[in-house]
Symmetry: C2
Subunit: 252 residues, 2 copies
């Protein structure tokens, strides 16, 4: 990974609520990061049930939230740079899932004492952090919908469309492609199918010209077609300006 791309590691921090932050708050947020760490192979940063005293900010790469049950691993969420991955670990005594890196991943760690400090002194920033967790919940709901509504094709299309848009929000997507270090097994874990069926699905979508994977990237020649397959509607991602933060609720 080219660390020189990150002169200030905080550049993307807090992705979709960042636009509502004041300059001072952006600096505060960056100061919350005590240290950074680079993982070059899949690593469980946090294990389910473990007590935690710091939260994780994803700076580059991908992180999955996964739960292993019945010997099989299931992915219940995927994070992109700028996401405060386990801010909720601050409130819940223990996490209900593992936090695992995917491919090469750069993360920052934020001690909980600093979050406590912010909660004591920064009501506006605290609110932004809360709202960021509400967007996570909205993404969860869309995943539930995806799993209830779509078959394997649609689920894969939806996942790719979502990740492309979320990367695009932080300036890390190209018009017809984006980074995609997930393996087929991981894609199947995130789509609730077997790896073999995921392979079938990928093949047929590749043959149909909808999507193609190569060298850690996904190519999407026709985004509109992909989104149609996924019944995709970006509104649940609450892009810039789609929150009340900074407006009526900008309390003080």
């Amino acid at each position: 990974m080219d660390l020189t791309r990150y002169p200030k590691t905080g550049r993307f921090m807090a992705g979709r609520v960042r636009h509502a932050m004041r300059t001072r708050e952006k600096d505060l947020l960056e100061d919350m990061i005590e240290k950074t760490e680079l993982y070059t192979s899949p690593t469980a940063i946090l294990k389910r049930g473990q007590m935690v005293n710091q939260s994780t900010m994803l700076i580059d790469g991908f992180i999955a939230r996964s739960i292993t049950r019945g010997g099989k691993r299931h992915i219940v969420g995927i994070h992109v740079p700028g996401d405060f991955v386990d801010l909720h670990g601050f409130a819940l005594k223990r996490l209900d899932h593992d936090i695992v890196t995917v491919g090469h991943t750069l993360v920052g760690f934020c001690p909980h004492e600093r979050i406590v400090e912010v909660m004591k002194t920064e009501p506006h920033l605290t609110r932004l952090l809360w709202f960021a967790t509400l967007i996570d919940a909205a993404v969860h709901r869309e995943w539930i919908l995806k799993l209830e509504q779509l078959n394997a094709d649609g689920r894969l299309a939806h996942l790719m469309a979502e990740l492309w848009h979320r990367l695009n929000f932080v300036g890390m997507a190209e018009p017809q492609s984006c980074a995609m270090p997930l393996t087929q097994v991981e894609l199947s874990d995130a789509c609730g199918t077997t790896a073999i069926h995921m392979n079938r699905t990928i093949r047929s979508m590749r043959e149909a010209g909808v999507i193609d994977f190569a060298r850690g990237r996904v190519m999407i020649p026709d985004m509109a077609r992909l989104e149609a397959l996924a019944h995709f509607d970006t509104s649940y991602l609450y892009g810039d300006g789609d929150l009340f933060i900074g407006h009526a609720l900008d309390l003080k």
Copy 2:
């Protein structure tokens, strides 16, 4: 519905975070409710995309969060008495889903101005409200897991086990049964199956003696067996005392 059962409608309010509230905060919460309303038939209290200026507290009955797409309705969450159903509607300009009543339902409405007031003056209570939304997210993750991991039998078993436990938390479940006003169509919407397959599933589980529906209730003769079918683990519900609230984070 027997309203005399609710001498103080606030009795259950804020279900799983209630134990961390101070008496004064419980009163404050109850004061946040401006008015109550009883719905005797399925009603969409809120429609997706609609601007909202109040949030909904569920006092009795059930409420579903649903999204209609492709002409088919999907349920992405179910609420039980004590839940602050759409607190997140306060932060998000618009909801990404509908809020619909199930069976007979008594709700309280809380104007957003009162939430703003609380956020200005009650940091501890604000934190509790935040944490309540984090539990919602944990439930969402478990639904994702359920949909990825389980077949129709397991999904139904999981839903029944979850609702029984959540009702039990607020003292509204019997040892081997609880209220269950959801129709088979609604159950299928919540489990991501067709109504016909849900009927097949219910029949086979009834014949197996695992579960039975009658007159708006569900009978669960052997909870352990149901939970085994569902690979159920209550920890994601964060029962009493399972949050950091009121302890290290009791800031002031």
